[in-house]
């Protein structure tokens, strides 16, 4: 039952990700990305990671992709203006590099599997519940994650200010002075 659901979800995820990568209209690609994130959060839920699934929906779909869609709409009319068709040599290079990467990873995986470096039958481990995650995020001992958690907020503030400074309209030459 779980296996069948996982196979269906994986197929959908691969399909949507391929659509993200090959759709000529960039707006369609962004919408396919939303769909692929939804399917990913379903896979997270299936594997007992509720926190990551909810964060995925709220941060990625609610924040990042919507932001991207807005940028697409600002830079091209419904994504229809800036459609650039990839030349064949570039497409072939992409296919070649990806296939080579896939082949090398497959060879490494086969070797690891044959050498029995990892146990081949892993059972499901413990599920991290929300209480444990929250306590862990605010603990400050050697295993706690309080420092990265706080650093993330500083990083968000810095990038917010940086984004505003970069995207600000230059003041008109005649008026002069920063506004």
């Amino acid at each position: 039952m779980h296996e069948v659901a996982l196979i269906v979800l994986s197929g959908l995820l691969l399909l949507f990700s391929l659509a993200v990568v090959v759709a000529p209209n960039i707006l369609h690609a962004a919408i396919a990305l939303i769909a692929s994130f939804l399917v990913t959060s379903a896979i997270y839920l299936q594997n007992g990671a509720e926190f990551a699934a909810l964060a995925q929906i709220m941060i990625y779909i609610g924040g990042i992709v919507i932001f991207m869609v807005i940028t697409v709409l600002l830079t091209s009319r419904l994504g229809e203006e800036n459609i650039y068709f990839t030349p064949t040599w570039q497409r072939l290079t992409g296919v070649g590099v990806s296939a080579a990467l896939l082949l090398v990873s497959f060879l490494i995986a086969a070797r690891v599997y044959r050498a029995r470096l990892v146990p081949t039958t892993i059972g499901p481990g413990a599920i991290a519940d929300l209480d444990a995650i929250g306590l862990r995020l605010l603990r400050s001992d050697s295993e706690g994650l309080a420092l990265p958690f706080e650093l993330i907020s500083v990083l968000l503030l810095i990038s917010l200010i940086g984004a505003i400074v970069i995207a600000r309209k230059e003041p008109a030459a005649g008026k002069g002075g920063a506004s």
Partner: protein, 101 residues
Amino acid sequence: MMAAHLLALSLLLLVVGIYGVLTRRNIIGILLAVEVILNAANLNFITFARWGGADPVAGSVFPVFVMAVSACEMAVALAIIIALFRQKNNLDVNRLRGLNG
């Protein structure tokens, strides 16, 4: 079985994302492909949190850090894209040669 399945899925997503980074000509398209790669990395974290990882809590928390850093990256990248679009009026990486040596 399920762990191997998830890891294979993550590898395929990585390959798809790399193909996108290599073949897209629109800058925003490249960013979307990078998101696919980050998604593959998050899937890996969750897989090892559930199947045979020593520390499931850290495995569930790290995707959130990845998301936050990716949000910062997107904010700055999209600001740069908008500034670029205002100046050059196109987003084709094959034609933007301002930083070529």
